[in-house]
Symmetry: C2
Subunit: 336 residues, 2 copies
Amino acid sequence: MRHRLKDVAERAGVSVKTVSNVVNGYLHVRPDTRARVEEAIAELNYRPNLSARNLRKGRTGVIALAVPELDIPYFAELARYVVTAAAEHGWTVLIDQTEGGPEQERKAAAGIGDHMIDGLIFSPLALTADDLSGLDGTPMVLLGERVDHGPADHVVVDNVAAAREITAHLIGLGRRRIAAIGSQRTPEGASARLRLAGYTAALAEAGIEYDEALVAPAPAWHRADGAAAMRELLSSGVRPDAVFCFNDTVALGALRALHEAGLRVPEDVAVAGFDDIEDGRFSIPTLTTVAPDKERIARLAVELLAGRIDGDREAPPRELAAPYRLALRESTTGRP
Amino acid sequence: MRHRLKDVAERAGVSVKTVSNVVNGYLHVRPDTRARVEEAIAELNYRPNLSARNLRKGRTGVIALAVPELDIPYFAELARYVVTAAAEHGWTVLIDQTEGGPEQERKAAAGIGDHMIDGLIFSPLALTADDLSGLDGTPMVLLGERVDHGPADHVVVDNVAAAREITAHLIGLGRRRIAAIGSQRTPEGASARLRLAGYTAALAEAGIEYDEALVAPAPAWHRADGAAAMRELLSSGVRPDAVFCFNDTVALGALRALHEAGLRVPEDVAVAGFDDIEDGRFSIPTLTTVAPDKERIARLAVELLAGRIDGDREAPPRELAAPYRLALRESTTGRP
């Protein structure tokens, strides 16, 4: 049997209007009410009757998620959460892998085909706030650090604070020669800049002098880049006793290079990453990391987008922060 | 400067018509000629003038790649190759993560929105040949093992032969208690069935008796499933000296469980996977695996699709096989 809005409302003990507000992603619903409604939706497996609604409103029922690359598992994991959150609005999510190229990003921001999508969740690498404010039309929510104070709604994670905390964790273990892998000088390296800022802040707070020789660049944030940078650090003679890698794939590459060099993790070198991808929960050793709440990022992005598509498109842009936590594992603590 | 078809033809030393045949994905071009043209296209960074062509032909310039899940890295890596191969035809690729659900798969096969896409490269889990032949319209190329002798063009890898070879490699190392992880009894588990068949064939050829107690199911093929199955095998007392995992993420989970049990890989238990994902080239130990030629799979799929979109839609379906090789690494040989 197919349930209706009314059934959800009854089960959740709220009005039909409130269920509708949740389904349409309006943000002014109280969190506990929203949770009750979402629970009822899940229990009843309720699906809004969307094709009718879309037709009525001249919509396609399709939104896009545009990310730089899917073989960075962070984006693949985020994609799954976005698909799940969007399904509650009856949206199909198509994923656009832009490779961070300006042409492909511009195409995504312009709605891909000729108004093919109703809205876009967008993690840009190449485009700036200026580029984006020149575009019009497709409702958009931004993710990531590339665009600051941009022309659209934005979901962020406090990268500086998170990087500072994980570096402080390494300092708390008694490490003093803490390397950083993943710095980038390109304009696209916005996350790298913020994570580097958090790293240097933590060193300064602990009274540890910043040593440029301990900071290694990584042109991309893949395993191979992390392994190459770690090898270079080891052969340069700087002798780190810990390393903060700016994402988990870089950290997994660094783990491999340390293993090949015969160094023990964490006894000789403690290793921390950023992203909390699944790989790091099964690697040998398991990986300490910053764990952004990816499910929450996806849900906030979808709700902001729903608010734009169905609501006020002219309201000033909103910026919402998603939480993160530290996941401490074998690569720094020696304990699972 | 923007190059034209003529420039590519001159550089490759072929006719404009031949370049056009390559760009349009016709399959009757000779492989060496195709290679020369593709090289010239790459050197000149040639891009067909597509928006004009699409408008003329009533196209969107967008194709979809529908896969079950992107956090199985095999699909994320394949997606990147498809995006690259499709870019040579000027196509934008949108990726549809179906979760293997019949409703979402049906939506993809029907063209997603209202004829939103020009064509579809589709790796189904739920739909069968019967389901697909009932649909009409969107040109489609199938990947994977779910649909046999289906109603559309198909790119396959010989799973039985590949599984037999990798099992034979384990036997060649002197192992006799070879476990298999990843069997599935569901109709969707077509790859599992073929890989199990290859495993049993290799055992039979070597005169090793098949022992059902050594075959462990895995409901999904994620790291957690591999770890759980490996733990169960170890605690069941069957004492395997090798294990063939039906994909790499399962194998990475198994490596972790063996590590936690204090067993050495490969000395105590040799481990092999299937897919050759990047993770396995950096894991500790690195992972022996079957390496399907993902770039070739993507290129064949895109060329078959181009042939359908621009060519004869009524011609009988074609089936093309992509090659694979064994990648032998530390998890079985002890050597990188």
